[in-house]
């Protein structure tokens, strides 16, 4: 099997401010041709050169997956972040070329669902813009409930203007009680998806569960949260003969990559299992969705993209 390129070069075709903190970017392949295939819910990981390091930030694709002429994302400028969103908002101009990983999907649509109910908060709408484009193309029933601040209502209305008003519901109150009635009247075969602030997702899922929705119908997306933050530790790469400091706000995988070591990885979200590495010494703090209970308990394996260490040193077979 020949290795597929893991990095592609994208040219900024348009960078359009939607609000003081929201900016939409459209990318086309720097070398022409079509963008790689993606599905609804997929994200793009951009390599963002900020002072001192390269951030790999993930952004949901909002473009219709069937249209491979471009990739589009919307970025919220976050105050007090590591600088990725500020870089995109301030430094990136039309015509610039940015490196990105191939699209990956940790939030796919359930293909067997008869109907899709979506609940989003703020910028969490982005994956659902791709969902809705796919649902409209396929004629699959859907319903969206979007929660946002009053001052951003018009921005989100604009993004959803082309879709039937009967399917789009925008709420500017923080009270999710409106969802009670919505969740109680969904026909069998409906699947539920939520994306947005953790508090909104947890609350929406809790309400659904209380109304008899089983876990298998409930799907949520959160970016990076699991990989971020934690006690700093030292990763010893036995085969490379390196000791890598993993800071409080970097992932183990990012630290390994920053040290110049090529580590296996694919989804970078704890789902696919590609980045599995053997642990020689130390106790991992598992944050992935891939290993089973027995594998976790053995402390012999770690998924570097999201998991960290419970011990000050973690010796890896890498």
């Amino acid at each position: 099997m020949t290795a597929r390129p893991r990095i592609m070069a994208l040219r900024v075709a348009a960078a359009i401010p939607l609000s003081p903190t929201l900016k939409a970017f459209t990318f086309i392949p720097a070398d022409g041709g079509l963008v790689p295939p993606s599905g609804p819910g997929a994200h793009l990981r951009l390599n963002l050169p900020v002072p001192g390091r390269t951030l790999k930030n993930a952004y949901s694709l909002i473009s219709n997956p069937q249209d491979r002429s471009h990739h589009s994302i919307i970025v919220r400028r976050v105050a007090g972040s590591k600088g990725g969103s500020a870089f995109l908002h301030e430094e990136v101009q039309d015509g610039d070329v940015i490196e990105a990983g191939l699209p990956a999907n940790l939030f796919p649509v359930v293909r067997t669902a008869r109907r899709h109910l979506m609940v989003s908060g703020g910028i969490g709408l982005t994956p659902f813009l791709a969902y809705i484009a796919a649902f409209e193309a396929a004629g699959t029933p859907w319903e969206l409930h979007h929660f946002c601040r009053p001052d951003e209502r018009s921005v989100f209305e604009g993004l959803l203007a082309r879709y039937p008003a009967s399917k789009v519901n925008i709420h500017c109150d923080v009270d999710l009680a409106v969802l009670e009635e919505v969740l109680a009247r969904q026909p069998l075969g409906t699947h539920f998806y939520t994306c947005g602030p953790a508090l909104l997702m947890d609350s929406a899922i809790e309400r659904a569960a209380a109304l008899g929705w089983p876990r298998s119908r409930l799907h949520s997306e959160s970016f990076g949260g699991a990989a971020e933050g934690g006690e700093p530790f030292i990763a010893v790469l036995r085969r490379s003969g390196l000791e890598v400091m993993v800071g409080a706000d970097t992932s183990l995988l990012a630290a390994i990559e920053a040290a110049g070591v090529e580590a296996p990885c694919l989804c970078r979200g704890g789902a696919c299992g590609q980045c599995l590495i053997e642990v020689a010494e130390g106790i991992p703090e598992h944050r992935d969705h891939f290993l089973d209970g027995e594998e976790r308990a053995s402390n012999r394996l770690i998924m570097t993209c999201v998991s960290r260490s419970r011990t000050a040193r973690l010796v890896l077979d890498l």
Partner: protein, 201 residues
């Protein structure tokens, strides 16, 4: 000649009410006391229906509400003339249902897997539909050669109702067909058939 240890052979546990459900519907292919087929119905707060196949024309299938023990919600009972009658009403009921329903089926495998298939086609998830075996072990057999389903098979060899082939009844179970696979017994040596045994009483 029976091929055992096949993973598709369903394994059943005793039914137990899923407390997360908001409405429950229990289906039985024979009259059985409710407490005998499912645990946890005493004190259940959510509405519960219990539909049975009475196998007699002396029932009218009309819902009969009945107070349940404890503080439980009332049980709505319906008796049907035949399994076909019950499945017909079930398809209407599922078409009107909303997420929150839990469905339970108990009886012979042909019946419970017909229910499971109907539930799946209506959009129920496996985690919302539960099955348990009771009664005869007789099987529905799907002829892999002519695709005909022969019902009520109790023997290790069965004659296919479609093509007349002598079929070995395997443990290989298809949830799609709600039937066990049958393959021609004398395919390699025509006319040479093993002894027929009564194995699914």
């Amino acid at each position: 000649m029976l091929i055992s240890d096949i993973k598709s052979r369903p394994v059943y546990e005793r039914l137990s009410l899923d407390g997360a459900g908001r409405r429950h519907l229990v289906l039985s292919d024979a009259p059985r006391p409710l407490g005998e087929v499912i645990d946890g119905t005493d004190g259940a707060g959510a509405p519960l229906g219990y539909w049975i196949v009475a196998a007699t024309s002396a029932v009218d299938a009309q819902p009969q509400a009945e107070a349940a023990p404890g503080n439980a919600a009332p049980v709505e009972r319906r008796a049907f003339r035949a399994a076909s009658h019950l499945l017909d009403r079930l398809s209407h009921r599922l078409a009107q249902e909303t997420v929150g329903l839990r469905l339970y089926a108990i009886g012979e495998e042909g019946f419970i897997w017909d229910v499971a298939r109907m539930a799946r086609e209506a959009g129920l998830e496996p985690s919302e539909c539960f099955t348990a075996h009771a009664g005869s072990l007789r099987r529905k057999v799907f002829c892999v050669h002519c695709k005909t389903v022969t019902s009520g098979v109790t023997t290790s060899l069965a004659v296919c109702e479609g093509c007349g082939a002598h079929l070995v009844v395997r443990d290989h179970f298809s949830r799609t067909h709600a039937a066990f696979m049958g393959v021609q017994a004398d395919a390699e040596a025509p006319g040479e058939l093993p002894a027929v045994e009564e194995v699914f009483p």
